[in-house]
Symmetry: C2
Subunit: 247 residues, 2 copies
């Protein structure tokens, strides 16, 4: 048996997300179909984790196992020949047979882009969340700091599809940076793992606090409550990028 | 009578270009329809020049004339409420009644983006021309320098729709910079005016020279020939941005 890891970039705007689902066009499905066509085996392509409809990736990692050894350079080029231009395989590497794209992941980095001006550039409309009301950047940084560290993030996880997360919802956020640039702000999340919709739920809370709808103490109370119903609505998907998976 | 200038950004990917044409969705049509709805007069919106299908603008300028004075801040906001998110009006200004978006223009700046790596990022696929073969950057700069100055650009103009250009095809290019960044190169054109498809035709020639298919002396011969049939094919539209119009 041989095992390979794929590094994949995608613009998620027109897809139903990473994960294979019936009656919808997922990135996992397209990548898996392309790999099967080239490898000529019924491989399963397993990603580091799902990304929702409209969420993007600069470096999603996925693995597959097959009987025959592959020419990684040819495979990379041929996959890009088959896949739509919204999905690019930046590299293919041979990995240890015990490597698992999801279970071997040690940490992940996500970026969330906010557009704060009155007008969103047409070139950023699919890659930012437009927040046209007044945001206090100092308050945004203070709010972000409250999420850093090890917490039970149950209040910030959607549970619908995550039996696993329900068992253990403690995660560690190493870094949550607020990086302003012109009229935009990027929120940089780095942590040992993220529950389902956790980044978008935290961003929703951060914007509620930075715009004065919630207070800093509401964050602490919501974390404490361990109840999703206590947290505000999710931020929309198009501002979110999976940037890096570390093993 | 009152006259107003609009500053407009657009992602041209899904449109038939700036100019109103029967049976196709143009940016001029959408902007004009939106202005007519708000101003409640049958105004004509006149742009600084056409951009082709797939070409983008960071700052296209257009004017219209109307009987009633307008609240420019309200108009800007309301136009953005009506227009699709691919088209944004960044500002509206009251201008002199003699101002003409096309005829008063003194110079224009266009940028053309080339993606030179093996793989184009999904986020740049609609905003670059992918040139995957070997490009000699020194040769590209030498080739670009030959276009700077005042020349008869007839060989680099498509004549199909340009009766006017056929009469006088002498233009001055003040600046044609080659700006590399990572695996991309931006070509910055600044000139007193550009004939129909002139930028894309010059880019086509530049890439032919920089990839060794044509020589530097072919540029001089093509300029001298004053015959469109002597020049290579146009570069594709999606790499081209109208960046600035100066008055």
């Amino acid at each position: 048996m041989h095992k390979y890891a794929l590094h994949i970039m995608y613009d998620g705007s027109n897809y139903s997300g990473w994960q294979i689902q019936p009656h919808s066009l997922s990135i996992q499905q397209l990548v898996q179909d392309a790999v099967r066509t080239l490898v000529k085996e019924d491989v399963n392509v397993v990603g580091s984790g799902r990304t929702d409809a409209g969420v993007h990736a600069l470096d999603q990692v996925a693995h597959f196992r097959c009987k025959e050894p592959q020419d990684i350079h040819y495979l990379c080029k041929a996959l890009n020949g088959i896949l739509p231009k919204e999905i690019r395989v930046s590299s293919v590497e041979a990995v240890d047979i015990h490597f698992h794209a999801q279970r071997s992941a040690k940490s992940k980095e996500y970026h969330y882009h906010l557009a704060l001006g009155a007008i969103v550039s047409p070139f950023e409309r699919q890659y930012t969340w437009h927040v046209p009301y007044k945001i206090d950047l100092t308050l945004l940084k203070e709010a972000a700091a409250l999420f850093i560290g090890t917490h039970d993030f149950r209040s910030f996880a959607n549970s619908a599809h995550t039996g696993a997360a329900a068992k253990n919802s403690v995660r560690t956020i190493y870094r949550l940076d607020v990086v302003p640039k012109d009229n935009n702000v990027t929120l940089i999340f780095h942590g040992n793992g993220f529950l389902y919709k956790m980044v978008r739920n935290i961003v929703g809370m951060l914007i509620n606090v930075a715009s004065g709808k919630k207070s800093l103490s509401d964050i602490l109370e919501t974390l404490e409550a361990k109840d999703r119903r206590k947290a505000p609505m999710s931020a929309p998907p198009q501002g979110l990028f999976l940037v890096k998976v570390e093993y």
